[in-house]
Structures are given as C-alpha cells and as structure tokens.
Symmetry: C2
Subunit: 428 residues, 2 copies
C-alpha cells in the first residue's frame, strides 16, 4: 500500500511542484475546494492595490484608456483561450457564467433554427448544474421550445432531428464525471445540432480543445466558463464566453446579435448610435461595463495556470490531476473500506475531471464539517455528497494522504456526530 513517504517522494519528483509557490495558502490547511473557489495568487493583492490606488485613484476616468481597462476583457480572454484550445480574439471575459449561458444558448438556438426552424428541442442532462438547467428552462419557455433532460448515458441516443442545441457541462459539479467533448461535438453535428458547453469545472483543470485543432479534431460551437474555480480568479470573478469563429462569421452574415444587447457589445459603443449593431466575432457577447477590480484579480489567477505552459501545460496538469485523484481513490479504498463511503466519481480516468466525490447515507454534511474543523477543506453537495477537488497546480500527494487519514479518523472515531457539526450552513 502507498505510504505517506511514497507520497512525499512523488512530491519531490513532481516537475510541477514549484507552481504551488504562486499561492498564498494558510498554514494548517489542506485545500481541496479549489473547484468552488481557487486560492489567492501571490500577485493578486499588489495588482488589486495598483488598480485601486493608482489606476482608479490617480488615473480616474482616463484609466479606461491609459491603464487599458477597456481592453482587459479581451486581453484576459486571450489568456484563457490558450488554456481551452481556442484562438486569440475568440474568447471574452464578461458577466457571470449564468448570464453568458443565456447569451450563447439564445444565439445558438437562433442560428440553429434559422437553418432548421422545425428543430425545437434543447437537449441536456438531468444532472447538469442547476443554473444551466434553470437558464435552459427559461429560454425554452420564452420560445415555446422543449427542454429535454435525459441521463448522461442516453444523450447520444436522444440526439435526434428535433434537437437544435445540445447543452452540457463538461465535468459534472457533483460527481466529477467528464463527458467526451469531441465525441459529443461529433454526435451533435452529425445530428444537425449545435453544441454548447459549460466549462465551469474543467477550464484550467483538464485539457480542452474547443477549436478542434487537436488530434480528436471535433470543434464545439459555443462555450462559457467560470473564473473563480480552477482559474483562481477570486470570489465571484467574472466569467468567460467563447464562440467558434465559423459561428460568429455566420452571425455576422445574418446580422445576429444576442438578447443582452448592451452598449459594450455594440460595433461602435462610443458613437452612441441610436440603433444596435452587434460587434463582430465574440465581442458581440459583451453587454455592460465589466467589474475592473475583480477582472484584474482574475488575470492574476489565469496567470497562475499559464505558468504551467513551460512545464508541459494542460497535459502535464492533467497527468498530475489524475495521479492525485487515482491516489485518493486508492487510499480511500484501502483505508476507509466498510465505512459507508460510496465512490461517485468514475474509476475510469478518461471519464473523470479533477475531483473525487463520495456519497454516504448518513452524516455527509457533518462529516465534511468535521473535516473542515481539522483544516481539510472540501465541500458538501446536497443531498449526501462529500466532494474533494484536487487542483494540480497546488495540491501535493501528501495532501491527499493526509486528507484521507483525517477522513478515516473522523469516520472511525465518530467525531462527526458531535452536535457542533450537525447544523447545515447557508453556503456549503
């Protein structure tokens, strides 16, 4: 069985180990919740101070030009693009994941139904993240369309000629199951549908090939993603939106915008023209003025992931991520057997994101609280899931070993039954 010393040896041999030093990590914490909120990059505090004191305080309104605020959504977007297999100018930082999802889902439907008006179905997964389902529900209701929710295994079979758009989250927030994006893009396109992806739990954690330039060669159509999880952009960091250049070219040709036609998505926002004329390319997905202070912090977070580019980039991060999640599964199997934990995450690495989840019939919430009180920060997801995120940028093999040991102790000694762990908090 793998020992703690084995883990320490793996850390010593880890070519990515130094990347952890980019972060401020509190003492005594094993942070396995970077898939909810990435930790603080060491550069962020100074950069945010610069934005506040110098750019806002001294540069005032002029900083939109002189400090480049106006270019920030595209500049940070271009950086994120490099992490998700997209080209420069194709990806923009804007709004929240939910708001961006609304924009691209509406745009995808309008495109798909311009070419095939009879297609009236949005196909998605029953266990997709709720916000994705809520937004799709809303868009479907507004347009009199059908939202067809099916189990993951049924997706390919239900991609029939009625489907206009396939809407999926790449890695499931609860169980960490990852879809094969190239396969589903191919299946969607073969069925005549467009593929829209939510990358909240995958951008910065697993290799993604949005443009289809890689070996699998199957491009997506639209995507959105989150800035504050594996991109380490800070609480509520702005999100991003990507559109395949062939889709935006077609939107250009048809003069299509998207419903959230705010002034910053206009072709010439500072002309203050009375009619809306969408900007070309992904710029049409901008809406209102972006929150610059939070956006500056996001750039620091994205830079922490880009720092891996010279060390093998996303494939190297993926290799480490799988080593960490494999290790977690192996150690829980070996050390927490018979303790009521049921693995929810696929054992097949090809189907796994960068997290490991367990369900437990009794006490899942309290067990996570007991772990947190020991400094092992994962999270609980209703109704019964213990979720552990293993961000390869800063998680060590010994962290996995120690976390599993704490989990074993909490289960064995029953401390989670203490009343102080029994209250469910507002945010978990």
């Amino acid at each position: 069985m793998t020992t703690r010393e084995d883990c320490a040896r793996r850390d010593r041999g880890d070519p990515l180990a130094a990347l952890r030093e980019q972060f401020v990590m509190p003492d005594g914490v094993i942070y396995l919740d970077g898939n909810s909120l990435g930790p603080l990059p060491g550069t962020a505090a100074a950069r945010v101070q610069q934005v506040v004191r110098d750019e806002w305080g001294v540069g005032l309104i002029g900083s939109w030009n002189t400090a480049g605020w106006i270019d920030l959504p595209q500049r940070v977007g271009d950086k994120i693009a490099r992490l998700v297999g997209a080209g420069a100018g194709e990806l923009l930082v804007a709004d929240s994941t939910s708001v961006n999802l609304y924009k691209v889902l509406c745009a995808a439907l309008e495109l798909a139904r311009t070419d095939a008006p009879a297609r009236n179905v949005i196909l998605s997964e029953r266990h997709n993240f709720p916000t994705d389902v809520y937004i799709a529900e809303s868009v479907a209701r507004e347009r009199g369309l059908e939202l067809r929710l099916v189990d993951a295994g049924e997706l390919a079979a239900r991609l029939d000629g009625s489907v206009a758009v396939l809407l999926l989250t790449h890695v499931n927030y609860r169980d960490g199951r990852m879809h094969s994006m190239p396969e589903l893009n191919r299946a969607a396109h073969a069925a005549g549908a467009l593929a829209v992806w939510d990358l909240a739990h995958s951008a910065g954690a697993v290799p993604i090939d949005l443009s289809g330039g890689g070996l699998a060669g199957a491009a997506a159509d639209f995507a959105v993603g989150c800035g504050y999880k594996y991109l380490n952009g800070g609480p509520g960091a702005p999100a991003f939106v990507w559109a395949h250049p062939a889709r935006t070219a077609r939107m250009d040709a048809l003069s299509l915008g998207q419903p959230l036609s705010g002034w910053l998505g206009h072709a010439a926002p500072f002309d203050f023209a009375p009619e809306y004329r969408p900007a070309s390319g992904v710029a049409r997905f901008a809406c209102g003025t972006p929150p610059i202070v939070s956006l500056a912090a996001l750039e620091c977070g994205v830079d922490t992931v880009l720092a891996a580019q010279t060390l093998g980039g996303m494939p190297a991060l993926r290799e480490k991520s799988l080593a960490l999640t494999d290790l977690c599964i192996e150690l829980v199997d070996a050390r927490c057997g018979g303790m009521g934990l049921a693995l929810r995450t696929p054992r097949d690495p090809a189907l796994r994101g960068s997290q490991v989840s367990y369900s437990r019939e009794e006490g899942a919430y309290a067990i996570m609280q007991a772990l947190i009180s020991r400094g092992v920060i994962g999270d609980f997801r209703a109704p019964d899931v213990l979720r552990f995120g293993f961000a390869p940028l800063y998680t060590r093999h010994v962290d996995v070993w120690d976390a599993v040991e704490h989990l074993r102790q909490v289960l064995e000694n029953g401390e989670w039954r203490e009343s102080r762990f029994g209250q469910r908090s507002a945010v978990t």
Copy 2:
C-alpha cells in the same frame, strides 16, 4: 459678477464641505466626471485589501459565510435603498445596469401583459442612453412588441392604452435633463402601464422617491441603477435593481421569475433542486455569483454618500448640486459669451440633474482634451457635447470657478486647435 473669492466664501460656509475629505483626489485635478466614474473613497483600498488578503486568502471558501459575502448584495442594496427612497429588502446589487434592465423590463412586460395581453408597446425616449434603447429593442423584437421612441415632450401624450411599459432614464446622460419621476409614474399608471426607471445619472445625485412615500406620493414599479457614477463604487462596480414590493408580491402570486433565472435567484439555491423556483421579493432578480472584490469597493462608495445623511442627506446634496450647476451656467454666460457654446442643460433647476452640458459646432472633442490636459476632467459625448458633472459630495464652488476660467482661456487662446488635442480616443 461672482468672483473667485465669492466662491471661496461659499465653500467656507458649505455645511457639506468636509465630505470631500472622504476621497483621494490627485493634486492639480478638478474632477468633473464623477458621472462617468466617481473618485476613490479613502476607505476603499484598505477594504479591498482586507477582502483579498484576509477573506479570500485566509478564509477561502468559508468566507461566503464567515465574511458574509453571501449577504453582501442585499446588505449593500439596503444601503443604496436609503438613497433612492426605497425600503429595506427591496433593492439588490447584481450584474450590470444593462443586464438588470433586461431582467426588469422582461418582468414588467410579463406582469403588464398578464393583466392586459393586448398592450404591445414599450414606450421610451428617443434620446435615452443607447444601452437602454438597445436592450428595449432586443426585448421588443424577441416578443413581437413595438418599441415606440418619442421625444421627451411627447411622452405623456403617447402614453395610450397600447403601452405596457414606460421605460425611461431619470437624468439624461448627454444633456442632463431630468424627468419628473412622480408625474410620469402617475401618467403611466393612469394609462394602465408600468414605469421602469434607469437611475444611472441620478442615484446619489438627486433625491429619488421610488416607493412614493414622499410628498409627491407616486411610486415607480421597477428601477435599475449604476454603482460607479455618483455612488463612487469603482470602475465597472456592480449595478442595482429595485422592484416595488407590490409588484414582486404579484409576481409571487403568479409564480413569475425573470428570464435570467440563474441559481442565486432561486428560492433555495443550495438545495440544487432540479426545477427553478424564483426567490420571493427582489431576490428573484439575482442570477449568478457576484464579483465580491468589486462589490466590497462599491460598499465603500455608497458609504461616502450615506455620510451625508446626518448633514441633511439627499435634499442637502441636491441643494448644493443646484448651487454648483447654477454657478457654472452663470459663469459661462458671463465669461464665455460669444465663444460658440450652446447650453444644452435646462436652466430650470427642476429639470436639471447634477451636470451641465454645452454643445459647440466646432472642436468640442479637442476642447475637452485641452481642458483635461490642464487638469479639468469633464467628458466629451458624441457628436459635439462637452459634459461637466458636479458631484456635490466633493466638488467645491472654487472648482467651478477655476474650471470655467480654464474653459475661457482654452477658447480664447485657441490652444484646442493644437494637433495633440485633435485625435478622438477610444473612450471619451
């Protein structure tokens, strides 16, 4: 004629003068662009550092509870509510002004047309801020409704039985003209329509009585507003959304949400329920996760306006604002006569917001650039408008005098004709 010494004397007698000390203001700057971006509150840098270093860096994900991040949109919303005549729990910070406008316009239309399905018109003003017109265009097109754009003077006459929603900006961004909100609310309601207001250029600058509790006693129905202008919330600060409690009660009764049905507007977001169920009250207008760092800075900005509450509050700020804009008009009349400036802002104080605008046939852009190079920061608005914002929190009477003197010199000596002032920049 008013002398500079008269102005200095007025400043010495100004009961609000000390409020200026709340801000960090660069030396040598006369800042007359707080209606584009308010200046930096002295508290903001430290507060943002606290959020970044302590709450994010140390508290990590737990700060959603322990640092109260989850309550921040409502907490700051309650503070803004006090500035715009709204009740606690009625106003929420969220997203951008444009995105919020989309939400409330859709909600208002759904409410109005549930009761009167034949009403098919959104009535607005031709010279409304472009983003308002663009969003209304989009919403109208999606629903097959008519967007009826008329001149300000025609609004009351065009409020007929076909109008579902009257959508207006309280103070015009270009000429500073202010609508009478109580009168137009009454007219809208008399015509059976709902009234939706954009408070971008009025919140924090002029008294507003959204709930109709004041003497005029005419409530609005929905409103949105901007955090980074007179509320001094920082570049791209999150915006706000307000709904009259009677409107949200009716939405509750009809189980109506709004189209941007993101998870944070759900009645129980952390249940991760598969069906969307809107939160009650204004909370249904939340969508995705808010940008906490920018939101924390916004709270500092709002606090600078609340600091006036013990000194007479919004009425006292309004009195000073009118004294400043009156002074500007008087001094330009007296000192810049025959120099080609045409006053665009109403001379009647009742029709004026907190800015003064002039148009000039030739050179408006270059004239503003020449002023900025002298440290007098106003802004240019296409095609020919020089705009000067007079935020009563930090603008002094001597600032007005000095600004007009600079304007006079620039016009008299023709320095604006120098080629360095001739290029129009991306953001103005």
